[in-house]
């Protein structure tokens, strides 16, 4: 009936070629054995996943999850007070502060990560300053600490913006009511402000955790060539080792982990207002 419906058809074809087929190809590679000859011989197997169960490989996954969790936690602990602090300012100051927070987000992540190298390298600026004050040089490059710090640097703005967006819309009369009813500042924060800002906290957590767990640039530049996180490990399988089957299997593992964590986040993020909107759409 409606003429505009036909506008969808070209994209259906495109979507098939550029989203569905590539995903199916990954699944196909993940569940088949590496073929030694040119002719692609399809031999279905779970070998690639079994291989990943090796403690050496699993430790890479565990390390990625651990570093991403620490990064997320740090971003939350630093980002929440800062976002809250920004909402306490005048409207004009808020606009400027938010612009200053968002500006680094627009700069290429490679450039932002590269910027740290001259600060923290062995003969970098920080170590120069240390030796100037007669302190021993510390090795920062190629350590977990440096990787975490640069991840926090790259992803903190997302956390601040996510929390600020919710906090700035918070109904101040509720906070006022809490004070009027005798709650102190701490109680008000714990029982009124924080629960109301939970949706922002959760979207901040997903916006930091997801890119952090699969990051490829930061471990490569800051961690160095021998530093392995799941992102760099996938790259190694595809680019250096040429083992697409194993690489695909790891890609599926990480994709599943991310989809699951999104589901968990959605489960916790049951904003009453959001529910109402969804109800209306039905």
């Amino acid at each position: 009936m409606n003429v505009y419906r036909r506008l969808v058809y070209p994209y259906l074809v495109w979507m098939g070629i550029f989203i569905v087929i590539p995903m199916l190809l990954i699944v196909l590679y993940a569940f088949t054995a590496k073929s030694s000859n040119q002719v692609v011989s399809l031999r279905f197997t779970l070998e690639n996943f079994q291989r990943f169960m090796d403690p050496v490989f699993l430790s890479i996954l565990v390390k990625s999850l651990r570093l991403a969790l620490v990064t997320t936690l740090l971003c939350l602990l630093i980002g929440y007070p800062l976002a809250y602090g920004i909402t306490r300012r005048s409207e004009k100051a808020q606009a400027i502060l938010i612009l200053l927070v968002t500006l680094p987000m627009w700069i290429n992540m490679l450039v932002r990560t590269y910027a740290w190298i001259s600060l923290i390298s062995d003969k970098g600026i920080i170590n120069n300053l240390m030796s100037y004050f007669g302190l021993p040089a510390i090795q920062m490059m190629y350590t977990d600490g440096a990787v975490i710090m640069v991840m926090v640097y790259n992803f903190l703005p997302f956390m601040i913006i996510a929390i600020y967006t919710v906090l700035s819309k918070l109904d101040q009369s509720l906070v006022q009511a809490s004070y009027d009813l005798g709650a102190n500042r701490f109680q008000t924060f714990l029982r009124v402000i924080f629960p109301l800002s939970l949706s922002g906290v959760i979207s901040g957590i997903t916006m930091v955790f997801l890119p952090a767990v699969s990051t490829f640039v930061i471990p490569q530049l800051i961690g160095g060539g021998n530093y392995s996180m799941i992102g760099t490990f996938i790259e190694k399988q595809f680019i250096n080792m040429g083992d697409w089957n194993f690489g695909s299997a790891i890609s599926i593992v990480i994709a599943v982990i991310i989809m699951l964590s999104m589901q968990i986040a959605n489960y916790f993020d049951k904003d009453p207002e959001d529910m109402q909107l969804k109800g209306r759409n039905l």
């Binding site: 505009y4 036909r6 979507m15 590539p22 190809l25 927070v101 700069i107 970098g124 120069n128």
Partner: protein, 273 residues
Amino acid sequence: MIGSGKQKWLGSLGLIFMMLFFYLPIITLIFFSFNSSKSLSHFTGFSTQWYVALLRDNNALAAIRTTIVIAFISTIISTIVGTLTAIGLSKSSPVLKRVVSSINQLPILNPDIVTAVSLMILFSSIPMIQKGFGTMLLAHIAFSIPYVILTIMPKLRQLDANLTDAAMDLGATPLQALLRVILPQIAPAIISASLIAFTMSFDDFVISYFVTGNGVSNISILVYTMSKRTNPTINALSTLIVGGITVLLVIVNIVPLIKGNKENKKEKRMIQS
């Protein structure tokens, strides 16, 4: 507003530390782009030699050109395709709508690296395809369209379908109704969708890195390969990028602020009179 002086002072201190953390690396980067020696930690004197080196570096210039050309073409194509698809979807059956939007979720939710290797496998599986500029462009269009659709769909939901019907009842062809009734109403969403598509293409590293070939690089790939040894040319290039983005963002953000002030004043005057 509420809060003792001491707390406000602590808050300001926190904000100052945040700004130092955010901007110190970027400022150092800019500072050393003007260094007269190759060192990135000892400032030996002012010079613009790294900018000259950048302008003479054919690889760098080619990468800048590739980045800009791909960003423009992929923005135009993904905005047009995404907008038309979104309009079509808004008139489609709920089943089709759900199928398309859940498939579109895949590249949005998937980590970049998974999308990247999936496209790499796709392009490598087709023997006729040479990896390079073309594959990079196709990949950029492919990862931008879902975001365009996602940005435009909510706006279309708010549209009054009767307006389009009315236009056609009054004799407009579907094309006329599309151009003169639907598109003007969703124009702001189209603009923000195209901005998202542009910045995503401009900043992309992971997907480009995996689907390119034949020595074709964009700025991100260039920075990645150059950063393996100290090279202040990257600082010069980065400074230009940071400068460009800052100017753009300040214009985009400050102009409405000033305009808004004027409008506020006008409103106040109207209320007063």
